[in-house]
């Protein structure tokens, strides 16, 4: 491998993820002919969207050097709020009020995490693990059993592609992904980005340069909680109902997606666009396995082996670089 390619990868670790994504898309397309038709495309992306949103939120925390293991529980909690606060005959007003309530609860949860990490100076892993119990408990309190039914107009607005012209429609989730990328591009051009990366890379140096490190860390937990709430919204609209354990299986994949996207777990390096790619890769791996006609008892193993191989790639590159030097 020549030097420039190595350098390019070093500066833009998510390029590797992009390559991986393209490979996954090609394999998926080979197994599923109609992958790019609007129906399957819309369906797939809609299913992936909550995971994408959670991963984007997780990215902020990880770049600042932490990790948020409570995102799944926050998603469960806000999902429960949305499902119980939006009855089948809800009007626009009710929906907005419910959404505001969910976002408020989500931010409060994020603030609790941020408080634990910055004011109480607790380790992020165990703090967010402990708070995840609290949020999961609140979710169960609000909605003990899966249930609730959202108005059909609301769910179909999200489920159906947006018709741009008579013969061209855009999946809503693709619009969301576009907005997320735009959001990240804006963010990377303001001071907050510098403060965020400096905090994650070397908090003490950042502090002595005058960055309010604690505020930055605090804010990242607000971001992750906010995006977990948006993920809950996407999930609630997608399923039309609520589940107090909806987020149980969302937390750890969000960390995997972030790492797959080239963000360094130790902080200081990373990219939310990479995390979107990472989440898409994870989704596509699931798709491929289900289309590959594998025995259903082999699927989890194949799934896990592909994921661990993908996670090991940066390390293998590192070893190769050391050996060739």
């Amino acid at each position: 491998m020549n030097n420039r390619a190595v350098q390019l990868l070093n500066r833009n670790p998510y390029l590797l993820s992009l390559l991986l994504l393209i490979i996954m898309v090609v394999i998926n397309r080979a197994l599923q002919d109609n992958l790019f038709e609007i129906g399957p495309l819309n369906g797939n992306l809609r299913v992936f969207t909550p995971a994408i949103l959670v991963a984007v939120g997780q990215t902020f925390v990880v770049i600042a050097g932490g990790v948020d293991l409570s995102v799944g529980a926050i998603l469960s909690m806000t999902n429960a709020i949305l499902a119980t606060q939006i009855p089948q005959d809800a009007t626009g007003d009710v929906f907005v009020r419910a959404l505001a309530l969910a976002i408020g609860a989500g931010l409060l949860a994020g603030a609790l995490n941020g408080f634990g990490v910055t004011v109480l100076r607790l380790q992020p892993i165990v703090t967010t693990y402990a708070t995840s119990f609290i949020f999961a408990g609140v979710a169960l309190r609000i909605l003990p059993e899966p249930g609730g039914r959202l108005p059909r107009e609301l769910t179909s607005f999200w489920r159906n592609p947006l018709a741009v012209s008579p013969d061209f429609a855009l999946p809503m989730s693709l619009i969301v992904i576009g907005l997320l990328i735009l959001f990240w591009v804006v963010l990377t051009n303001i001071r907050y980005r510098q403060n965020l990366f400096a905090t994650g890379s070397n908090a003490e140096a950042a502090y002595s340069t005058g960055i309010r490190v604690n505020w930055v860390k605090f804010s990242t937990y607000l971001f992750s909680a906010f995006f977990a709430t948006l993920a809950a919204l996407a999930l609630t609209l997608g399923t039309g109902t609520g589940n107090p354990r909806a987020g149980d299986q969302m937390t750890l994949p969000s960390v995997v997606a972030v790492v797959l996207g080239g963000t360094r777990l130790a902080g200081g390096q990373g990219n939310a666009v990479g995390s979107i790619i990472g989440a898409l890769i994870l989704g596509l791996i699931g798709n491929i396995i289900s289309f590959a006609n594998l025995d259903s008892w082999v699927r989890p193993l194949v799934d896990a082996l592909i994921i661990i191989a993908a996670l090991a790639i940066p390390g293998i590159f590192g070893v190769m670089r050391r050996l060739t030097r």
Binding site: A198, A206, S208, G210
Partner: protein
Amino acid sequence: MKAISVQVEKAVKTYGGVVALAEGNLTVQSGEVMALLGANGSGKSTLSKILTGVIAPNGGQVLIDGKATSFGSPQEARKAGISAVYQELSLIPDLTVAENIWLSHEPIRGGFIKWQEMRANTQQLLDLFKGLYGTNLQPDALISTLTPDERQLVEILKALSFDPRLIILDEATASLDSRQVNRLFELVQTWKSHGMAIVFVSHRMEEIFRIADKATVLRNGRTVGERVIAESNERELVDLMIEGATILQRERLPVVDEQKPVRLAVENLRTNVLRGVSLQLRDGELLGLGGLQGQGQSDLLMALFGAIRCEGQIVLSGQARTFHHPRAAMKADVALVPGDRGSEGLLLIRSILENLMLASWSRYRTPIAFSKARADGGQIAQELKMVMSSLDAPVNSLSGGNAQKVVIGKWLLRSPKLLLLNDPTKGIDVGAKAEFYNLLDRLRDAGTAILFYSSDDDELLGLCNRVLVLHDGEISAELREDKLTRENLVAASMGASA
């Protein structure tokens, strides 16, 4: 530039029971270079960090333009026009040069960073040192890819980017080469004429006499005097610093016995820093390594200990050896006292006993014969006259000198044949230093071969009868007997051949 006058009065800082600064006084104003002098641990860094708001003092006050001020954070100090170049660098490894220099005061329009302008401004700052750094140093280069001197330059430019009225240079010249230092001093003269105030912290007396107008001297956490440089001399300042302690004066050592076997022979040793080093060391010899910091002395010692990769030939006790891990070197009776006690030598929160035994546990079988280990540890502690409450006290409860004894004791327990010392007296007090010198004598007399790097020229002059001076990864001079003088040492450090 608006004039500034800064006064620190009776500043105090304690950590738990440890007093870092007992009474710090400092006065400096526009157009003045104030040197801050003191032995290691005298409170220089604490005092300068109070000025920049990094450390909150427990007592005393800071007056800016006559007004009492207390900085809650570094940015408050910066708003008051004070900015600092720190000894431990404050750069972010994952950000670029430009991003680092403008961190927290990036040029923005409508909230968006003006990247082009930031780059151009950075280039402008870099041009202050035009021609004095490698091609690597670009506005878009990541800090993690730069060499130590380049990082130091970025650090200086970063402090400058805040347009300070008072700039603190805390050992800012430590990793710069002489041309870069000269350029920095030219700049300091310009800043001075523009009305900037400068606080200059350095352990190089020569630099202080070149650049400073006045000097404030600290000793054991107290300001003990202020002198006008033009009316003072080196002797007077040193006396103030060390309170009557004499500079190391020792008899010249006997010439090395050429009959003794050669313990170590190195031929053309190369690492990332070393560019072909050859040397020979006999049993019972104390061979000095000199030169400015970062010229490859650490690399040489680490390479001999198998801690970093190297090429070339190493013959130890008559056998060609390649060590891939310190463990292998250790088993061949080599020991290394590393340069940075805290980060390379000690397990700070563990007990003294565990630190002493770290390299020797496997000798006590399994399960460990603890009473035997404790007895051995106690004996070595006694031999080294360690001052401690018990062997079970955590090593971070010890003073610098005693902590260093733990590092040395760890290796003495293994009775090494070849002892590698990387600046072992850094940051330890005068008394502990004297004990350490006696220990070296004893070890040498017992036939141990010792390779000894010191950043303190007086030590090399007083202890060794042969000194190899490293410059830029090569041996620039071998000084012995009559040639071993301060002048020759300094000249060779600068790369001139003696």
